[in-house]
Amino acid sequence: MKKMLPESELARDERFVRSKIEDRIFDPRGPKLATRNTGPAMMATDRPAAAERSRSLMHGIFVGEIQALEGAGRTCFDFDDDEAPFQLKLDMARQCWDESRHCEISIKLGDHLGTEIGEYTESTFLYAAACNPDPVMRLTGVNRALEGLAIDVFNTMREFGKESTDPVLEFCEDWMLADEVTHVKMGSDWLRRLTEKDPERRERALEFQRTVDKIFNLGGFRGEQEENPVQLARRFRELAGFTDEENDSLSKLAAESTEEARQMSELLAGNN
């Protein structure tokens, strides 16, 4: 088996349909919709299409968990002993188990919400971040940026579970949130240990993290403003080892992305 499996070769059964992010970005309805008030971005029971939005997000979480499992698994395999320390691989193996469990939880939650596996399309750009050939970059991109995003998403869903008095959703999201905090800590620890004597490599890794963070802020998906569906979970990010400075910086980046998305929508709406 070869090292470094490209995104295009991820194996899926017949239920899954892959989508390209460009399809959504260049959907002609996007700019039109961006100028309309479709209600509060945050999950809430009195949000229009609340159940369908919840199901769609849950399916997105489910496929994200599959890709996180695959990414952690590939990190166990892709690097020889001299490229990635034994302990790092052990951490990634542990993450495989956690992500595998998260897939199981997400499938059960999907049943609870009334969705089906493969009901929505899958975008694999999360796995793409897990394909970096440098283990430090990969760990930083996946465990700090993506797992950091997972903290924000799970906290958002947990809050929605509370607001809707859904005991199943709140219970499950709380457990998954605990795992994600552990994964981010792993990323922070390995970044520090592997770049202790190589500040340039550390800076490159942090730059890669910022790039991944920016991608996942796309269109104002995550942030600290009311119009961001997923809110930055500062308290849990602190538990995971992010400093106030890092959280402020991410918040600023998210606000910039939200503003860019707004400007882009206005521009595209003007052209249509």
Binding site: V17, S19, L33, P48, R55, D166
Partner: protein, 201 residues
Amino acid sequence: MAARVHVSPEQFTLIPYDANEIASIAEDVAALIGFPPNVDIEIEVDEELFAPLTGHMSDVIDGAARIWISGANFEDKKAPQHFSPEQARDDLIVALLRAKDRLSDGFDGASSDADITRAERAAWDASVNGRARELGVRVREQALRYEFRLQHGFTDVGDAAFDRLFAADSVTWEGLREICRETGAVDRPASKVPVDLLRQK
């Protein structure tokens, strides 16, 4: 004979939907559910909305059924921007069954869809979908139950009410309001977001 189903827009500009195809499906659906033949059906599709922003409204105004529906309801979830005739048929059956309810005596005095509460709507949807299933619509009971629970609570009382609605052959406006009292949904704070927000441009 003039067509009794009118679909707007006549020309879709953002997505390749065909107004004639939608009208034809609506005609078939109307015949299937025994929709009164003397009542015109006007269907307005909002082509700017896409998944997951689904929703539809059914009112009877000046003797005609007025259906507003999100373009997302007709969209093939596995092929975004593409029309799904199966999805359209299923959702039009549900929308027209609600319009048919409104034409019945049991819904005299019912609020319009813009004024209905989310809980009343969830209860009505549970009932209509139960009947739609008998007509061959692929109804996902658990999805409906979840929508009902969001508005009526995750309780045994709520679940029992859902089961009754889903199994009922018919329902009345007063019956729906009684369900809302039974589950405690009437005591919940009023929605801060207008129920017809997606319809507002």
